[in-house]
Symmetry: C2
Subunit: 399 residues, 2 copies
């Protein structure tokens, strides 16, 4: 289901990814999703108040609930670029709209890459016809063209239950650094970009409702480095070419599955990371407390470096929860790595338990659970280890 | 003033630092401050709800406003050690009290090191007589014996104005990792330990008032890794052997100077760090907003890795402020590295300015200022770069 090399498609949509000379080092950097007809559309966007020009424009355009295309460039975030940046977003999306023969307002722009440089709109305009000519049913080149520091493309597909059988939900995302989404789901969520495409029939309001609900427990519950981006954008489009109508509930179930796996893949691909780790905090009296404690543990540098060291350092885990601002009795705390209990009643269980936990910590993906009391609420935050690779990528990113 | 190799002393206090076999790799690990008579005493402690046994005990004992001694061990934090840990803190401080010939309640215990192992109280008891026999006027061995991952001892001295001339304030601290103090100053502040000793005459209430005020703008405004420790403790003792009485205001001035420099030294000695950087956010409408924005920039991994790369990446600086939750107009933002303006009206000023900023970023200590509006409030948070050294220290700490 997540093999990006196998063909992925969804009825009503065509995809392209080409090279337009935007990335300094070359490679695919201009991508397009085109709907054959008007699609229902919804979006959630970064809550960082420093928002890139394409975020402002896509946010404004998606309000209409309808779209025909999504144009994405990598290599340049077009963030902190003032009026010239806004003009570049308008010009580049207009050029793609003209090549597609659709109204500019129906084209949603996204950018990801270096902050502080105006997008070279002329390169996109010069490649608009070639981009449209490259459109085809398979999403593979699209998924590759939106990558920046990603080591692998991220494509996930699952069925959506409708009134007349199963439709498809296809999710495509990029993101490896500046990953700590804080999307405006109405509740509190790098550059991550994600696209959720379905052929099911669904109205824009239900599409948006499903997207907000699913984002809050998936994208808004994952972190690489704690740095919420200026460009985070998740767009959902429904072509409606399937005969069946999807309910908000059935669409949300499919979205939670697809977005959850895309979030895990982004974290697994976290810059320099070798592991994705699901941090669950349970036993608290509110879900807000559980989210806050899980967030604090998931973003702790001492925890993330312990994950790199395959060190079941329960003291760091417990200390991170202890500074979260959430009240609990440390003497009631217990901690599992996978299914191995390493801390009970706030105290360690010794070297044998820790050796078994270390074996689990050598695997690619695993879970850590902190049970902090007898309350009914739990929350899971997905994080990764922090190693030398992260420093290499980010201490030399612009050079 | 900060040369730890020159003799540092303050009338009324004697110091010792010896090896008691607590650190796995040997070295000085048991330290003592002894007052020749009852000293006025005050303390501030970590707000992490996971608090080590010695923190609980010192907190309880310092309420009396009087103390005779402070005993510190490095190599073992005695945190998350339950009832056996509490007993170890009681037993070890009682042994030192007996060797000094003072009541146990007058001895304030502190521990720093690995979490989750019960302090070997017998080793401290067995070395109590040797510890007392080593007492002398110079604080150098004390400053070395409290170190854990520190690369250098931290001692700062300055005069205190009193009713009859100048007395002395001597500050001694340790701390390099798990540094993000959140001391209970009544306002919102790793393991850091700091001791502030004066010969001035001051009552315990004024001593505490000065300590709270000074800690809030110094220790509580510095960070290495964002991880507030289970063991952070700052103790202030006044021997009163000087003839002059210090006011709370004069003592606070001296404390702000000494604590500010100790905080800067801890951050400069941050695990794997090469720079201490004062992040100032100005132009906001409240000091809480200024603190929150400065904190968010100072703890951003993308900012800290850019500091390692000597990269004046103003986009990351601005994006971090933008996710802080503080409202400002990004188009009004300007950013200086040292005295070099690199961003104005929310946009970059180009390669020449950045080259001059990079030259400043190669120096050991410098400042970065983000002016986010026209409001009257500013706050400065001291942070360090995050490099490979931090990963090396923390991915392998217990192994």
């Amino acid at each position: 289901m997540t093999d990006p090399l196998s063909p992925h498609s969804v009825p009503g949509f065509r995809f392209a990814g080409i090279s337009a000379g935007i990335k300094k080092r070359g490679g695919l950097d201009l991508a397009l999703i085109s709907c054959d007809a008007d699609a229902a559309a919804a979006g959630v966007f970064t809550q960082n108040i420093v928002r890139a020009a394409p975020v402002e424009l896509a946010h404004q355009r998606v309000q209409a609930g309808v779209a025909r295309a999504v144009v994405v460039n990598s290599g340049n975030a077009n963030a902190c670029t003032g009026a010239p940046g806004t003009q570049a977003a308008l010009d580049s999306s207009a050029a793609v709209a003209a090549a597609l023969g659709v109204a500019p307002d129906l084209v949603l722009p996204c950018s990801t890459g270096v902050i502080g440089q105006v997008l070279p709109a002329d390169r996109i305009a010069n490649h608009a016809d070639a981009l449209v000519a490259a459109l085809g049913a398979d999403a593979a080149d699209f998924a590759r063209a939106i990558m920046t520091t990603d080591r692998f493309p991220k494509v996930v597909q699952c069925p959506v239950e409708t009134s007349t059988g199963e439709a498809t939900l296809l999710g495509i995302a990029k993101g490896a650094g500046m990953i700590h989404p804080d999307l405006d789901t109405g509740l509190p969520q790098a550059t991550m970009l994600a696209y959720l495409l379905t052929d099911a029939r669904v109205n824009a309001a239900d599409l948006r409702g499903a997207l907000l609900g699913a984002s809050q427990v998936t994208f808004n519950a994952c972190t690489v480095d704690g740095d919420t981006s200026t460009n985070d954008t998740v767009l959902a489009l429904a072509s409606g070419v399937h005969a069946g109508i999807a309910t908000q509930a059935s669409l949300r179930r499919a979205m939670e599955q697809v977005c959850g796996e895309l979030a895990r893949l982004m974290v697994r691909d976290g810059e320099g990371a070798d592991h994705s780790v699901a941090i669950t905090v349970s036993g608290l009296s509110s879900s807000e407390d559980a989210r806050r404690a899980a967030y604090t543990v998931a973003t702790s540098l001492l925890v993330k470096t312990a994950l790199t060291g395959k060190d079941p350092n329960w003291g760091r885990l417990l200390a991170a929860a202890g500074r979260s601002g959430v009240r609990f009795d440390p003497n009631q705390a217990s901690i599992h790595v996978g299914d191995v209990l390493i801390c009970q009643h706030g105290m360690g269980l010794g070297a044998d338990a820790e050796a078994r936990a270390t074996a689990i910590m050598k695997t690619e993906s695993y879970g850590i659970t902190l049970s902090l009391g007898s309350g009914p609420h739990a929350f899971t935050y997905t994080t990764c280890d922090l190693g030398h690779g992260y420093v290499d990528v980010n201490a030399g990113y612009r050079t």
